[in-house]
């Protein structure tokens, strides 16, 4: 079984880091305030607000900041304020030995998928695929998706429901949940951070991709054997998709429907996880039950 880090109590400290793209200070103030309102202390790393070209600091600075948070026993969870691009550049430089002695929740999504997959496959520790700092802005901190992060951190077991979709494959399955951003999953194939998907429930989401590229990446997962032995598949949101001048001729949902049509396991489409407000916290590495019925879909922690 995967190791679940201890849940947080009031007064526990959450460390904030930016291991990938740069985020200006004003963009994470609401997040910090909300974490305080939730009863947690925060410790701001050196990278949030710091800038080195595109990145929140150079590779050394980002590595050092995240490493410090991983090693500091006082920090009970690490929230990555932003994704973007950059975790893949530093992942091999991180030392998880202290983290494994006292695991803590690591929070984020998008580029943070690299950390989720790496930590799951190398350390067998669960992480939190969940909203980051920008999601708290513009009253986002009031919505159920940001609140689902609070629930996840404090040990309330998730029980998410979403409407039925015409492409769903009905059925029920239990298994360890893995997944994240499709482009990153594709970039990790063949590396030491790659995940084994056999007997797992896989979830995928993406943003800003061309439809043909989603097709290509799903073909990659399929041809590299990552879709055969699943217990279930959760297709999240694919937002802001681009199309080529000559239209691809299918929506992303149709592309995925065709690629997985031969599989018998339950598949659900349009699950609220991805690069938009509707983005539930999911524990990568924890056990969930996926129930896909004609009347609707539930994904609940076992």
């Amino acid at each position: 079984m995967t190791i679940l880090p201890p849940y947080l109590k009031k007064g526990d400290t959450i460390g904030l880091v930016a291991p990938a793209g740069y985020m200006p200070e004003e963009k994470f103030q609401t997040c910090i305030k909300t974490l305080h309102d939730w009863g947690f202390d925060t410790e701001l790393g050196k990278t949030p607000g710091h800038q080195f070209h595109y990145f929140a600091g150079n590779d050394k600075e980002r590595t050092k900041d995240l490493q410090r948070m991983l090693d500091n026993k006082k920090i009970k969870a690490i929230l990555c304020v932003r994704g973007g691009y950059g975790v893949g550049r530093i992942i091999e430089k991180l030392d998880f030995s202290k983290f494994m002695q006292h695991p803590k929740w690591l929070i984020g999504f998008s580029d943070i998928t690299v950390l989720h997959n790496h930590i799951f496959s190398k350390c067998n520790v669960a992480t939190l695929h969940a909203p980051m700092a920008a999601a708290f802005n513009d009253d986002g901190f009031k919505n159920e998706y940001v609140k689902s992060l609070y629930d996840a951190l404090t040990g309330v077991k998730a029980n998410y429901a979403t409407p039925s979709h015409p492409f769903n494959h009905k059925g029920s399955a239990s298994g360890i949940l893995v997944g994240g951003n499709l482009a990153l999953l594709s970039h990790l194939v063949g590396t030491s951070s790659d995940i084994k998907t056999r007997n797992k429930i896989l979830f995928v989401e993406d943003t800003g991709e061309y439809i043909y590229n989603v097709d290509r990446m799903m073909c990659q997962l399929k041809r590299s054997g990552k879709l055969d032995g699943l217990k279930g598949l959760v297709v999240g949101r694919f937002s802001d998709m681009n199309d080529t001048t000559i239209p691809f001729g299918q929506t992303v949902e149709e592309v995925i429907r065709d690629i997985v049509k031969e599989y018998k396991y339950p598949v659900c489409f349009d699950f609220p996880v991805g690069h938009q407000d509707e983005n539930y916290a999911l524990k990568v590495g924890a056990k969930y039950t996926l129930n896909v019925k004609a009347s609707g879909v539930t994904l609940s922690e076992s």
């Binding site: 793209g21 970039h187 063949g190 043909y212 073909c219 990659q220 239209p247």
Partner: protein
Amino acid sequence: MDRKNFLQSTIPLLATTGAFVKDQTRDLESKKFPPYLKPGATIGITCPSGHLKMEEALPCINKMEAWGFKVVPGRTIGIRDFTFAGTDEERARELQQMIDDDGIDTIMLGRGGYGAVRIIDKIDFSKFIKKPKWIIGFSDATVLHLHLNCKLGIPSIHSKMCNSFPEDESTETPEQADSIDSIRRCLLGEKMVYTAPTLQQNRIGISKGRLVGGNLSIIQMLCGSRSQIRTDDTILFIEDVGEYLYKLDGMMWNLLRSGKLNRLKGLIIGAFRIKEDDPGEEFGKSMYEIVMEKVGKFNYPVCFDFPVGHVLVNYGLKCGMMHRLEVKQDSAQLFSLQ
């Protein structure tokens, strides 16, 4: 970027089938080489990826006929299923038929785009392995190259396709014309000599190995699949188009972290038509820095700005065949040895 010095004169060598110099070093895994062509040979054209109009194929057809070959245009030219040259079934069927047809000596692909990965597993290569023929193309055709070179051990030709032959030859630069003519020379079995610009970013060295590579996005997306690239003891070449620097960086990390850059004999960087960073999202490293950062700890020669890729001057390369890469202080050249 200035791309002046390219192919120097090649020494015509009338190679006939099987007249290769067998390399004494760790030999190609190739089981069998496709025979080089003789004048009068038949070239079939098929489109396994994006759709192509017949008028777009004509300059290429005319050119190949002028070279003395017979050309058989496939039915996938001119048909269209959205972005594709027909449905997956139609494209797979025609590629299969051209692979199996004894009357077709070589297959020229119509166009890249997207679609080869959708049909590659539908193709039965059992006859092809016994009687291989040259398959010619690039970009999305990298799916075929890698499947052929790395999975089946059969060489193929990475070069311009039908849609990159100019309609009006008078507008061609000499280098462009020469790179189109290089397809003919590859097919006839000439030993090729390619010249890249001499750049201070290059890493000096001389080495010998089988040439593999193609479009970096495709190489990356085949990772983990049965068609994935195998780079040990090879000279790897990569090119790409329309990607952001950060995407290039991510793909290079994937190659490095999956062990595909450790045991190269050499690295050739073709044209990378990089998409400009969005304002405020400047990546801060050049393409040269991104590459050297990944391969800095290795010792093999590295040659930048090699004339291959989505550019006018895109030379035909015999993938899967032995080559010698010579990167020196004052020159950078690649020689085909077979």
